[in-house]
């Protein structure tokens, strides 16, 4: 086992599908559980995970995802994404993986910092009120590098 421990991670979440958001949340929570400092930076469609009205309604993408093992033509059928989402949420609940809103709250209560990308916030005409209360700040990319200094940056 290497002597040097990871001390800090900054995780960028750029996708807004359920499967696009969870890996970053699990990694951030896992980091805190190991005593590792964690920042979460939500950008582009990843912002959906911290928008109050949307965070608990994220869906699994059933189109353009070969690992789903259903033809894309079927993936477009109404209800397909909802069905896949329901199945995945059921499996996650068995593993005690929380819904997005509760997960964000847990990470924040654990001391993880939650940031929204300023450029995307402006592009989508969002304001601080659209976000869940755990969002620490809306920051630009320069500030992101500042808060990430001395740690690893992971893009998801």
């Amino acid at each position: 086992m290497p002597d040097e421990k990871i001390k800090k991670v900054s995780i960028v979440i750029s996708k807004g599908s359920l499967e696009g958001v969870y890996p970053g949340l699990i990694m951030a929570n896992g980091a805190r559980m190991e005593g590792i400092e964690a920042n979460l930076f939500f950008t582009f469609f990843g912002l959906e995970a911290i928008i109050k009205k949307k965070m608990n309604k994220l869906k699994v993408a059933t189109v353009g995802n070969p690992a789903m093992h259903i033809p894309s033509l079927l993936g477009i059928l109404p209800g397909m994404s909802a069905f896949a989402t329901k199945m995945m949420k059921k499996e996650m609940e068995k593993l005690d993986i929380p819904p997005v809103g509760e997960f964000i709250e847990m990470i924040h209560d654990a001391g993880g910092k939650i940031y929204a990308c300023k450029a995307t916030v402006e592009m989508f005409h969002l304001t601080k009120d659209d976000f869940c209360e755990q969002v620490d700040d809306i920051i630009h990319v320069g500030k992101f590098y500042e808060v990430s200094a001395g740690g690893e940056i992971i893009f998801t």
Binding site: N29, R32, E34, G35, L95, D96, I97, M106, D109, A110
Partner: protein, 105 residues
């Protein structure tokens, strides 16, 4: 396999100091294990968590997740991190004489 003397008893531990057999554990061992983790004194709040995860482990056969300690154990996440800094479930499990948690959440 390494051994360690806790509360006057010699017991098996793994290379990270976690007890190999949860049944070897007695409450008298907890303060010594806590000191190894940098916790000088176990308060009632610590004990509430230790007892919960021991009980849950006994019933479910696995160490509860942090979410389960929060929801079923009724301990706020902030308190958990305050009581067991830099590794709440890992440290609590070690002090409670259980193995190292293997879950991702």
């Amino acid at each position: 396999m390494a051994t360690k003397t806790l509360a006057g008893k010699t017991i098996e531990v793994n290379d990270e100091g976690f007890l190999v057999n949860p049944d070897d554990w007695t409450e008298e061992m907890a303060p010594e294990l806590a000191k190894e983790e940098g916790i000088d004194e176990l308060t009632d709040q610590h004990w509430k968590i230790i007892r919960f995860i021991r009980q849950d482990f006994k019933e479910k056969g696995q160490i509860p997740t942090i979410r389960r300690i929060k929801n079923a154990g009724g301990v706020p996440i902030k308190d958990l991190y305050q009581l067991f800094p830099e590794g709440p479930v890992k440290k609590a499990a070690k002090i409670a004489g259980l193995g190292k948690p293997q879950g991702c959440v």
